[in-house]
Symmetry: C2
Subunit: 363 residues, 2 copies
Amino acid sequence: MTSSADLLRANELRDRVDEALNEWIQAARPSIASISPDLEAFVDTLAAFVLDGGKRLRPAFCYWGYRAALRPGGDETADDTIVRAAAALELLQACALIHDDVLDRSDTRRGGPSVHRRFATAHHAGDLVGDAEAFGNAAAILIGDLALVWADAMLTGSGLDPEALQRALPMWDAMRVEVMCGQYLDVVEQVRGGGSVERALRVARYKAAKYTVERPLHLGAAIGGGDGDLLDGLSAYGIPLGEAFQLRDDLLGVFGDPQLTGKPAGDDLREGKRTVLVAYATEHANDEQLAVLTSRVGDQQLDADGVEALREIITSTGADVAVERLIAERAEAALAALESTAMADDARVELRALATLATQRIR
Amino acid sequence: MTSSADLLRANELRDRVDEALNEWIQAARPSIASISPDLEAFVDTLAAFVLDGGKRLRPAFCYWGYRAALRPGGDETADDTIVRAAAALELLQACALIHDDVLDRSDTRRGGPSVHRRFATAHHAGDLVGDAEAFGNAAAILIGDLALVWADAMLTGSGLDPEALQRALPMWDAMRVEVMCGQYLDVVEQVRGGGSVERALRVARYKAAKYTVERPLHLGAAIGGGDGDLLDGLSAYGIPLGEAFQLRDDLLGVFGDPQLTGKPAGDDLREGKRTVLVAYATEHANDEQLAVLTSRVGDQQLDADGVEALREIITSTGADVAVERLIAERAEAALAALESTAMADDARVELRALATLATQRIR
């Protein structure tokens, strides 16, 4: 589906986002490190986290949302500026991931220890007093907070002209509120137990679809001066695509290759995530299967055999096939909306490629 | 020291800040609550936290920093706008307090349960699965994140003209970074144990002095168009005053009346806070006293007798008297700086009254 020319462009954009993040962090670091040598670990952990790769999907949606809004010859925002504004999304994402790992008590991220785990380990290794886990959580909460503040400072300091910034800020605020709401609903589903496909889809919409795809597109389009029709079209493309993205994530969280996902096999099951996949299995399980799902999903002690048993139940209820079908339906709806929305042609080409990248990925 | 006319003005400002917060929250609430009934507890807990009083000191410093910058007849920002911008500081403070209670594992705030404790209790009371403490922490982290985002949305949506907002944002960003750094240094001191007056003063400077007094003043002055001389003068007043404020807090955290502070007696000692007070006592303790300080400060099981024993050690090292002296010196330096800085006369009168309020308070 994706031509090599598109992939080249995607890689080039990713490199430029990395470069913008690196420049911004290098400029922000000294004023913090100079306060106290104790702050070096604080700021350097965040810097390493942000600069350690990632797919940079949100900046890509933001950038192409911006390009979608441009009329021929109408580019008024310097390219560096829009890349910087788009890159700020990665700092917001750093906050979301770092706090998420604390919420989920998840010890692994991208194949290495999560931030709270790193600080808990440093506590154990050092000659320190108090509780190591509490120290790890405290450091991670504050590093996430710093990421949230940096995200904001990078966006407002990106060089956008005041009018473009004024158009961007309502999208930025809505996005941030929606992701916090989605995360909270996710946590509530975990403690509620059981499963509801309807509720799980709502979590996916707020936590992922709006946050990962729709709002980044809106942010870029608002900066580019896009009108209401474009924003509506980008929603019609972005929301089903974002839901498909999250549904793919749900499948990878249970069936993914740990080498590629950077998370232990079955981590979502151990954390008790009430994904659409798990909710579908719960709704379609027989009594015996339901008893296993109820007792083992969210069991922190779940071992490889336990993960395998849950996988078999999920498969035998047809949940994996059902989720693949939901992904296909949503990807199709997204692509149809893309074709029927008026926008700059090069943006349409890239957004088509991004739809494939987001839904057919293996990590 | 404070005339009744000044107190009236202080109360009036506080009421207007409360009103601005209430209006803002009522306007922001529906879009969240409409997503899911599950979000009502999420948003209402934050609303109740923010609207449940507080001294509104930060908005007061911001407002009077703004007034200090005004030239006679030069008020271009509508009064409602600056009150809204100043009130945003209370949402930031809500984030700081809610996250702080998670960091410190503090179960009490303003005489009632802290936010994470409320949600942990709701988990126990409901028929819910998983770990109640983890659920409480997760909810509190996300509610604090929402407060941080709301703070930002309230400031940028306050109605400030774009130029005033551009002048305000660097102060806003610096303040938020500084408070996260101060909080982190505070956590590091707690796990390092022991005590250093020098390091404890640095924590007080970043966590409290800059965040509570200097930066709110700067934020207001920047909005009012104040020049570098005014900002410097406000720093010379604000930093010692803010340190004095924190030192008073340290004394109240150990010797304060729980009925007035809303925190259990000796809570700072139980949490292991390495305040200037504790650091001074540690530096001046004999071997026997040092052994008690080392083993009992930060002991979550500390009872009333344990608190009393630590109080006696603190008093016998002269730490309380030394801290009172530091407060007096700083209050004096702040007032001297206030007199020698050119500013609007009515602002000087109010800032003089605020200095008394912040350093001689009993809660």
